[in-house]
Symmetry: C2
Subunit: 450 residues, 2 copies
Amino acid sequence: KVEDGNDVSEINDAFNRAKDESTKPSLIIVKTLIGYGSPNKQGKASAHGEALGVEELEATKKFFEWNYEPFEVPEEIKNLTTQFRMDGIAREKEWKSQTGLYQKAFPDLFKEFEDWFSNMDYSKILLEDHDFWKFEKPMATRIASGLLINRLADVMPNLIGGSADLAPSNKTNISNKGDFSAENRAGGNLHFGVREHAMSAIGNGIQVHGGLKVFVSTFFVFTDYMKAGMRLSSIMKLPVTYVLTHDSIGVGEDGPTHEPVEQLAALRSMPGMTVFRPADAHETAAGWYLAATKKDGPVALILTRQTLPLYEETGVEALKGAYIINKSLETKTIPDIILMASGSELKLVIEAAATLAQEGIVARVVSVPSFELFDEQEETYKEEVLPSSVTARIAVEAGSSFGWHRFTGLKGRVIGLDRYGASGKAESLFEAFGFTAENVISVSKEILKA
Amino acid sequence: KVEDGNDVSEINDAFNRAKDESTKPSLIIVKTLIGYGSPNKQGKASAHGEALGVEELEATKKFFEWNYEPFEVPEEIKNLTTQFRMDGIAREKEWKSQTGLYQKAFPDLFKEFEDWFSNMDYSKILLEDHDFWKFEKPMATRIASGLLINRLADVMPNLIGGSADLAPSNKTNISNKGDFSAENRAGGNLHFGVREHAMSAIGNGIQVHGGLKVFVSTFFVFTDYMKAGMRLSSIMKLPVTYVLTHDSIGVGEDGPTHEPVEQLAALRSMPGMTVFRPADAHETAAGWYLAATKKDGPVALILTRQTLPLYEETGVEALKGAYIINKSLETKTIPDIILMASGSELKLVIEAAATLAQEGIVARVVSVPSFELFDEQEETYKEEVLPSSVTARIAVEAGSSFGWHRFTGLKGRVIGLDRYGASGKAESLFEAFGFTAENVISVSKEILKA
């Protein structure tokens, strides 16, 4: 406890004691007076919420015996600054000499250290890694994500991450890494406990420190508890990966409190956050590729609890954010209608398009794993995928329709969920809320008739 | 501490001790085994995340010696249920006789008690209260809100509320009510401390209990810390009022961490939450009218720090969610372009429309304080305000454009803020980010040319 916050040596002592403490964290409490030195505002709320103002600033300077013009730097301060700089140069030299010795003694370890701290680019390695992208059967995207985390860990030794007490459900365990703890600093699995906000803050801290590549995980609906931390990842452009499973009413029996509805809109509207909701294991690999290689911001992977089909055409093209599926089935240049979907709903529009084709209606199927990645594409590509001349458009997503009208327009329709979910089996809920191929077909016909 | 969670009498004792404690809260810790009684799943995570399954359920029933068919209710339980019901009837009779005596002794107090707990309808009183709606000069909507809270408190004696340590900035103080505390249970001002999540939970609790009408308040950007609590207000349809000030880059010097950008989208996408962002003091009165009279869900009032003009045409019509301003200036039936805005940006589109008029372009001005209220209107009214034939549409809001395309369509434009803010004076930031009448005019011309 520092009794006088203006006593620099007292503060210095506290810091030194904290540095000497090597077994537990230290808390330093510094007693201060808000606006100290301002004769009329110190100790008042106004010293916090408003600028002091010209007159009060003058009076405050007088109190501190600060007899200089604005932006005038006294000689004494200039000299101190020069001294600090010289100290820094000396310390940097010492550091370089030490690491030079280390490099000679342990060249491999030094190389690893450099790779870790230089934010090594894994894009080539991953793109050429056939096994990374390989899946052979339908599975939940959370399961695919679990496999991908382990494939990544084999390639990226500095991958570390974990879950807020839901690892078995989030499928985040790195199987050959052990748990990180005070005793095992080499562990790769972090157990955050039920502390989502702290988890995102810790993720941000690890990424700011550098050296490690971190992912954090919980149920998608619980992002509400760490939105402020996710916002900081975004503002600070920190490449933290958020692994968010149980992504819709597909959660099932736990009911509305555990079923995300508006969380996609909340994250998509957050500047700097890249939201990626894959439709199958291939797209999940694209999502993890993005997360592993992106260096200037966070990525949120939105994953299902329930099993999804495995498509043939999906994969690395998902990185364009939105792309055409089943293009070969389009029997004319300009389709009659565009059916968009993300994640678990892709299968509904694929099914609907097939049925519509039998009735002579050409429906284009567009998989939309990421709004943000699509926004980054060239205008010509966007126009190719979503031709302006086609105003009959439907978007299907088991979540709030909020935000989708950007792609569907005034004449299109969004089959979304603008209410809270219910408790029941995933299949029953999808059917009850209109997430069926039949409903997509009937809405398509409605639009085409109008 | 209850050592055996299956010992009912031990639990009963704990409850009785908690009831006897009248000066502080009690914490009862009950030791249990998850899935107790299931021979193969007790103590395992699977007993939490999955249904037991037919066989294991059978085995568990055996353990409990429960020899009944599904949905068969044994005689003993039936009798107990009847007994509970009879006890309840007796207690209700006793309550009614007691309150009858109270009503005779204190008729006025009993009337007040009934008004409070019957969720009395204030709509007629407020609509006819000329002073409630009266404003005479430009002011920040947070200032208008502060006046309205005090006007309401004069009419609604059961109004109670407060802020998460920001009352002087949020303008939430009820001046003649004093602070609520253990010593002053009649106080009307709650001091929540910097605990936004707890504040929203307390608000929900007060509203569930009934009798009081509660509002809670903080800076708009800090809703990120209580999103989960606001979601519960929405799911549970609790009429908690959220007073959220400092609603945009207009916050100014505190910079991006304190400037809401995506928070409007986050709340508008939340089913059941009514978001209301007034453009002046008159619309703020409409917002508070809504908050005071709505019984089936929360209302979020989104208010400025900075001063806004006072318009003549604004007022109770704002309850339609979106409505035409300056209709008399429209010189043809169908306008050339529609300019929409909410809150502080309304003045920009009013100014732009005036300039465009001089150049012979008829721009309709639509004030949009609430998406949700507009959604509730008849289709004919919606078509009247936003005629489908007019595809030249601009929406202006100093926040994420996410969600506005529903009204602007594929051919319209949103002048929004799809990045984080910056530190600076409100006026400088509005200008730097394109929130000026000039920019609205130039985008209008661009659209009309296309």
